[in-house]
Symmetry: C2
Subunit: 121 residues, 2 copies
């Protein structure tokens, strides 16, 4: 049990779209990721997913609208809802979600990392 400094975790990340686990509680994971570019449309059938922005501007495309998040803003994508994160410039994002959550949801592609294979930093 050590405290976690979010910025220090982000500063240690030098790739994009690879979530890493920085905390665990009640079957949930706290993850951090740097992202840039357009992700893939996907959903998580059984998991609500929270996006909290640490730095940058994150656009969450949803079926009926776009939500733009800046630092200190969060949004919860309910289970089953299709979404696509987009980051024109690099975004640092904190994710809260069940430990079972696969990053690309029902989609399998080059970004996919199985939940049990996520790195802890």
């Amino acid at each position: 049990m050590e405290k976690v400094n979010l910025q220090a975790k982000f500063d240690a990340i030098h790739d994009h779209w690879v979530p890493r686990v920085v905390g665990e509680l009640n079957g949930q994971h706290v993850k951090v990721a740097k992202i840039q570019g357009e992700y893939v449309w996907h959903h998580h059938a059984d998991e609500d997913e929270m996006f909290l922005v640490n730095a940058g501007q994150l656009v969450l495309e949803l079926p009926d609208r776009k939500v733009t998040l800046g630092p200190g803003e969060f949004f919860v994508v309910p289970r089953g809802v299709e979404h696509r994160p987009i980051a024109k410039e690099v975004v640092e994002v904190v994710l809260f979600e069940p430990a079972t959550t696969r990053n690309t949801g029902q989609v399998e592609n080059d970004y996919t990392i199985e939940a049990e294979d996520l790195e802890r930093i």
Copy 2:
């Protein structure tokens, strides 16, 4: 489903030690509170509790040590572990914990608010 700006939520709070719900996902609550002073020693038998500091310096007293958290730092107090938050100056803290969590754990005192009575802002 709207995005949440954490600072705007904190700015709307004018009391201390009263957690308010600002998000809900997977049976968990995201809460915000302003705190100042010394809380009561307590534990949560069945809930891990995450403290993420938005502003100020939070001291978490634990049975064997003290953890000091500044902005952007978090700590998870595991279920069953006694703890006491202390804030010399006002601290803005985000809490992430099961929706069942009672703020004073097993202790009942003037601070106690039952989980189902928490205000949503």
